[in-house]
Symmetry: C2
Subunit: 447 residues, 2 copies
Amino acid sequence: MLRVGDRLPSIRQLREAHRISAATAVACYLWLERQGYVRARPKSGYFVARTPAPEGPAPGITRRVRGPVSVRVSGLAPAGVEPARGPVIDMGPAAVSPALLPVRRLNRSVRLALSAFSDHAVCYEDPSGSDRLRRQIARLMFLQGVTCTADDVIVTSGSTEALHLALRAITRPGDIVAIESPSCYESLQVLESLHLRALEIPHIRHEGMDFAKLEAAASRHRLAAILTTATCHNPFGDCADDGAKARLVAFATRHAIPIVEGDCFGDLVFVPPRPRSMKAFDTEGIVLHYSSLANHLAPGFNLGWVHPGRWRAQVRHLKSLTNVASARLPQLALAEFLESGALEAHLRDLRAALWRAVEAARNEVLRTFPAGTRVSQPEGGWVLWVQLPESFDGAEVVARAAAEGIIILPGIAFSANGQYRNCIRLACGHPVDVLVPAIRRLATLLV
Amino acid sequence: MLRVGDRLPSIRQLREAHRISAATAVACYLWLERQGYVRARPKSGYFVARTPAPEGPAPGITRRVRGPVSVRVSGLAPAGVEPARGPVIDMGPAAVSPALLPVRRLNRSVRLALSAFSDHAVCYEDPSGSDRLRRQIARLMFLQGVTCTADDVIVTSGSTEALHLALRAITRPGDIVAIESPSCYESLQVLESLHLRALEIPHIRHEGMDFAKLEAAASRHRLAAILTTATCHNPFGDCADDGAKARLVAFATRHAIPIVEGDCFGDLVFVPPRPRSMKAFDTEGIVLHYSSLANHLAPGFNLGWVHPGRWRAQVRHLKSLTNVASARLPQLALAEFLESGALEAHLRDLRAALWRAVEAARNEVLRTFPAGTRVSQPEGGWVLWVQLPESFDGAEVVARAAAEGIIILPGIAFSANGQYRNCIRLACGHPVDVLVPAIRRLATLLV
């Protein structure tokens, strides 16, 4: 109803129209302001600053299920390139720009950890990780609906290692793993490096894996694992509802097929509350849940974790065989950071910043990309999935962009079957003033 | 000729008898003093403080080569145990006690790195690792006779990860890897976790792998790799000579069989000079060389490296798929430490301390263990290999020791074929006053 620059109803009008308290009315406007939708002008009230992007049709998802295939995606992402001109913006791997991270506060945590543990920072850590850090992780898990203790958690060097260890604990080379279509590039690379075969099951918005197709596949093939991201799917960004999560866990429990659940972005859903993870519905330890604070808090610490359910001993053993233990000092520093409560403040700021970034990027894509382009509508996280018109080849676009110093990923890197030829993924974890010009420039390459 | 308490020739006598300068004579006695063999008494000269342990017969090595086998050693080492009484001494995994490490100097390096890089310590590191650290590693490699640059080196989270990445780059599950008999437990565990088959070739003192038997094995089987520790073998502690190293590299080059060379203890040979690594003889990039500063400098940093020769791209890629990159701050801190020259001072002290510890442990074993016990005579490092009389079962001894809070490893964990039943490995990286009582106590369990 309103356009940019229009004035919003006053607090009094809002109260009266909706029969709410002044506090609630003010809270509404403050919330809109934080998201950047409205702006206050002193003594004049609130004005529309920007409007949400139109929803538009969602990008398509391949519906046909094919047999299990060996994964070959390595090399589909652009390697480090020498840009012909201009600065590089990395919208490839899904890590947030340091400009959005609490760098100084993290450095302070390192100093505090060093003073508190000066004699011990040099010792080997237990393969499971620091006790203090694991207690804090158990607290984070509680906020996702999972009741666990420090003993249930194993600290890893980021989410990639967590996925690696979880898969190695429950599979052998050649085994079949059910994955979503599309699935994130990083996971497919791990499957490839472990010589696992992938069976793609279509992703359904707000449901996750197509349950009927998964059931059919499980009756035809021996599935060694189900790999899924039910909260803030990567690359689509949507969340499966609780019913779908509970159903999948019950199915997996019945058939004794372990679920590997990635939940790295769940704390970054734009609109509270934080969804429960699939692990919250797991009573039998069938879910190996993993997450990480590397991508959106402290990449240099590179710390994540896995709650391996009934495979705890195996995962701990594999961790000790992979690299003994993650470096100790970053663990102590991260524990300090979490104990101080600084994570909550960071997440609040980051959620708002990422929502602004993702919306700005969506707007810009819809405004400047060729007609017929479709773009995902994430509920959290910071990646956008873009389906270009049929005539475009994503890999070609990626190469052209790389030559301009813009790193993005091609759609085919998100499928074991070579689907999504005309798609690209944009990681939007950048300040808006860096992001929007990069997308505008990208648009000029789409000819 | 001399016994403990005897007086040594004076400096003047030494000069005259051997026609050397006073400086050389003094240097000799200072060197003996540093090793703990002699002690100076003011105004009285030098006296014998202790004598080297007798050499005695070396522990036996299985000479018969059997076919390749799947490795099953996991679980052979004692898990974390609740000792019935008394303090725990960990003579199991090969890491040096923190009492022998420059803890304060390392903490200082962390602080310096944090001040110098406060904005960047939080960022992701490149998968290859920090430039600054890699330059320092290239410098260390130069001291082993290897000419390389920072670009040749990939930083890893310790030696286990280095071995892991090297093997994954050149093998597939089921492949056959030639290893030494005995081989270190940690390596066998990695082979097991990667589903590789092991073909044991006898280790020969001062030669490394039995070359004739390796040649014969290579003619019968397709070897995917040769895994060897030619400098300070683990568990024997001896060094292959340059001729043997060169011969093996030439053989591997001719037959295009990659060599994975572990050289973690080479800097800790008791008597200089530091031997050249096998990599020093490699002109074609057939050797994947790995090492680490985790076990004898900074366990909590957990940093090692691999120089993967011609498999650089593959190893870098696998590193990025395993955990993106090793934590950044420990890398910057270690770089600072190495740039300052502090490693050389630490190694000088540590070499002397470890030699003292190993000799004291050898003496105590020969003095207190049952008649017929044989013990290795390491040229460097800090592990002792002990062969008990035939009637003993190493695994039983290990279990009994664990119940007393003494962690050691059984000989069978060092063979893919279940050899070395009556052997044990003692990691002696402890202060002598902690180590000797523990060994004495161990002796009381050998009945």
